[in-house]
């Protein structure tokens, strides 16, 4: 069943529920709690499911907002509607500060960092007099809608799910926007995202702050529906439960998050009803049975239960129509202008010298191929030029500018685009969106414009460009397929389209022909020749000698990290050193 239809049915059901006779009133309360959790979990889906940042600390941001609004509305006497923006901003600020510290943590250190924050937060709440210590704050006013106080039951349900719908809508838009593609690109690898100009550290913070703001929204609603708060609901156990909901529902999609939140909330309640009938009133078996069910569900559905409900597919990006203002192409450089000048490059890993005193030039309108046996240091050289790896010594000049020490995303700004030896596409994202990521630097819309849908013109232009480049490499037919479903050779071509989307003057291709069939190789060769004609400078690493010899203007041959020789294909072919080291064995 299409997701959109399901969502519509779900919304209809929620709205109609209070009016269906015979529905126990408690179901409205229960679903209100489910909705409150679902708002937090939606943020967690963005953070954990999409950006891959595991956080146990969402309960802290719920708590910051709940306490902020409690203080403002009780002692401050403010209306809840006025305290909402304050609560949101406060949580966002807290997320910014904690994120700036915590998101630097790598690997397993990061989730532990979020645990540390949340545990500390709990004890600080419990020991702060102004926050009522462990007893908390009571007597909060209810939220008024059109002068009518929302006390509970149907009103609270509709209010909560209204806000949930709003959160889902914003999140859906955000993830489809330019910022959203950058967030999703984190899953395809930080290196690839950085190479297209994405400031991944900033994108991570954006995702963290966004998730915290959704948590804050939930905290604000919780505080005024509950009307009494204390530290317990904001402790680490709550943080673990939010994550649990996301995983059990399916952290890969926002619908999975909602499903998980509703499922866990309802399941826990129903266990309390059913188990006493089975085991008698004396046992406390809820936690046991819940734990067992949780494990069993994960064993049946490790990706969460939602993908079992809907067939997993990648929704095609919305059709944005023709671009009113197509992206202006980057002015071509005059043929012969030196684009890249690498001199005396050196890279050591510990005592091992991977690249030793390599130097070469690439000019506009020429194809230079970097060849050599496996382990000769070609890919490392690539990484040195593009800022992915740090130079031990030597200099790289791009367009006459010294770029040694600049991060990859700054080098991308100078019109240098690349592909990777091991394909780095976001497997679950459609081909066209992967390609559009290449145009990241050619747009400017931030998260707010994206979430609010004020980026339509720019998005249309970016996608028009992406479509153009995809057509150029001949993969338009695959436009809406998930990138991971393509053959490996095709994925390499998608990477080229993505690189072209940057509007580069210099193109670096790492083994572009690997895995291609003969005809595809010819098409690729034709494409590269066309690009050369348009004035692009191309540096490529390739093993397929026929392909290289027929295409390259010059070859740079490497062996054991050092340059063996350089020259036109015909010259290199005759060089005795090359023949011995490399061609001799291959040919």
């Amino acid at each position: 069943m299409p997701t959109r239809l399901l969502a519509g049915l779900g919304a209809l059901l929620i709205v109609a529920l209070p009016f269906i006779p015979g529905v126990p009133p408690f179901w409205l309360t229960l679903l209100t709690y489910a909705g409150l959790s679902a708002i937090v979990v939606t943020g967690l889906v963005v953070l954990t499911g999409v950006a891959g940042i595991t956080s146990f600390g969402q309960a802290m941001f719920v708590g910051i907002s709940a306490y902020a609004t409690a203080l403002l509305t009780t002692t401050g006497g403010l209306s809840p509607w006025l305290s909402l923006p304050v609560a949101l901003l406060l949580s966002a600020a807290a997320a910014w500060v904690t994120g700036a510290i915590t998101l630097r943590l790598s690997g397993h250190y990061l989730p532990l960092g979020t645990i540390a924050w949340n545990i500390s937060f709990f004890y600080v709440l419990g020991n702060t007099d102004a926050l009522g210590r462990y007893d908390g704050l009571t007597g909060l006013p209810p939220i008024s809608v059109l002068g009518h106080p929302v006390l509970g039951g149907a009103e609270a349900l509709l209010l909560t799910w209204g806000f949930l719908a709003l959160s889902l809508w914003l999140t859906h838009r955000l993830l489809r926007s330019r910022t959203g593609r950058a967030i999703r690109a984190l899953k395809g690898g930080v290196v690839a995202a950085e190479s297209f100009g994405v400031d991944t550290a900033r994108v991570k913070i954006v995702a963290f702050v966004y998730a915290a703001m959704l948590a804050a929204l939930s905290g604000w609603l919780y505080a005024h529906i509950q009307r009494a708060i204390n530290p317990t609901p904001f402790g680490i156990n709550a943080g673990i439960e939010y994550l649990l909901m996301a995983v059990i529902g399916g952290a890969g999609s926002i619908w999975g998050g909602v499903f998980g939140a509703v499922l866990v909330t309802v399941l826990k309640d129903q266990l309390q009803n059913v188990l006493p009938l089975v085991f008698g009133a004396q046992g406390n078996f809820e936690a046991i049975v819940f734990g067992v069910l949780l494990v069993l569900m994960l064993q049946r559905a490790p990706d969460g239960l939602w993908p079992l409900v809907v067939r997993r597919s990648v929704a095609p990006p919305p059709d944005r129509g023709p671009a009113s203002h197509p992206l202006a192409p980057r002015p071509a450089c005059a043929p012969g202008t030196v684009l890249l000048e690498a001199s005396h490059l050196r890279k050591t890993f510990g005592g091992l010298v991977a690249v030793n005193d390599i130097g070469f030039q690439v000019s506009a309108g020429e194809v230079v191929a970097l060849i050599g046996p496996n382990g000769a240091g070609k890919s490392t050289t690539f990484n040195l030029v593009t800022g992915v790896a740090r130079l031990s010594a030597g200099a790289v000049r791009l367009g006459g500018r010294d770029v040694a020490g600049l991060p990859a995303r700054r080098i991308a700004r100078l019109g240098c685009a690349r592909t990777f030896q091991h394909v780095k596409l976001v497997a679950g994202m459609s081909v066209i969106e992967n390609v559009a990521l290449g145009a990241h630097l050619r747009g400017s819309a931030g998260p707010f414009r994206g979430a609010l849908g004020l980026d339509a013109a720019e998005e249309a232009a970016l996608f028009a460009e992406a479509d153009r480049q995809l057509a150029r490499v001949g993969l338009s037919a695959c436009r809406d397929l998930p990138a991971g479903s393509l053959a490996l050779g095709q994925q390499r071509i998608v990477e080229i389209a993505r690189a072209l989307c940057l509007g580069p003057t210099l193109l670096l291709l790492d083994e572009p022909a690997a895995g291609l069939r003969h005809q595809e190789k010819q098409a690729l060769g034709d494409l590269l020749r066309r690009l050369r004609q348009e004035g692009l400078g191309i540096l490529l690493v390739e093993h397929d000698m026929d392909f290289v010899m027929g295409l390259a203007d010059r070859l740079v041959v490497m062996n054991f990290g050092a340059k063996l020789c350089e020259g036109a294909p015909a010259t290199v072919r005759r060089d005795p050193a090359v023949v011995e080291a490399y061609l001799g064995s291959a040919a």
Partner: protein
Amino acid sequence: MDATILLLLLQDGVVNGAIYALIALSLVLVFTVTRVILIPQGEFVAYGALTLASLEAGTLPGTVPLLLGLGACAFLADCAEARHNLDGRALLRFGLRDLALPGVVAVIAWLLAPTKPGLPVEILLTLVIVTPMGGFLHAVAFRPLAHASVLVLLIASVGVHLALTGLGLVFFGAEGSRTPPLSEASFPAGPLLVSGQSLWMIGLTLAIIVALWLFFSRTLLGKALIATAVNRLGARLMGIAPSLAGRLSFSVAAFIGALSGVLIAPLTTVYYDTGFLIGLKGFVAAIIGGLASYPAAAAAALLVGIIESVASFEASAFKEVIVFMAIIPVLLWRSLRSAPVEDEE
């Protein structure tokens, strides 16, 4: 704070740190072999302590029926796993391991428990009751998830933790227990009074670290476990079944957990839910050790123990805040040191 107090606090921190170290070691072991962050490790500690307390009181601990139940579940799980080549020999093997072994343990416990056979026998009994649970849990809960992501394994681990804590409440009630010490002796050392129990504690921790090191560096089985940790496919090609390695690591973890429980039960009161917080501290230590290094994890555990002890003296209401805020700079430092050049995937 004068020097005497500082020494006393250090002593306290080291003893507590030793518990965290034991937990951290098991977590590292289980993680390297199976990628599971074993949150229920704390429950093994609580089960160990409370089982011993039950035996001490002359009653049959609730962990005995649990052992039988888990064994039966593991038997079913084993049969399901091997359903394509299930023959008489396999059935016999599973039956011996999953049904007969717990059965024998249960009968012995049932016979011995009312006689209060004395501390050494009771400790032995505790260890044989709790240790097999590790392997059974692996077979029932985690083996079917062998290919899931670390996050999913972690959430499954939370599920097992919830179930085991709930069972602990049913078996042992909400109130805690203490057991008599292994050694009543105490030795004056300057201003300190070193209890025999704390020496046992530290000594056994060191012994376990050495034993683990020897096991992994000297024995074929240990090397096989490391091989599984490094490369699961490679290990399988070399004829090492990851499920066997996983089962073994879980059993070792349960054994260390039960032993930790036996060690701390005389020093403090243990509750059905004691496991979570000490498990978390052990987790902190394990993570600081990068979930890979035993000595680093043990050192971090001592550090956590000492920070905790000093914090409880200086500002007891904010003890946890101090402990957990103190680890953030450590985490930052570790992150910077391990900053990956390429992507971590």
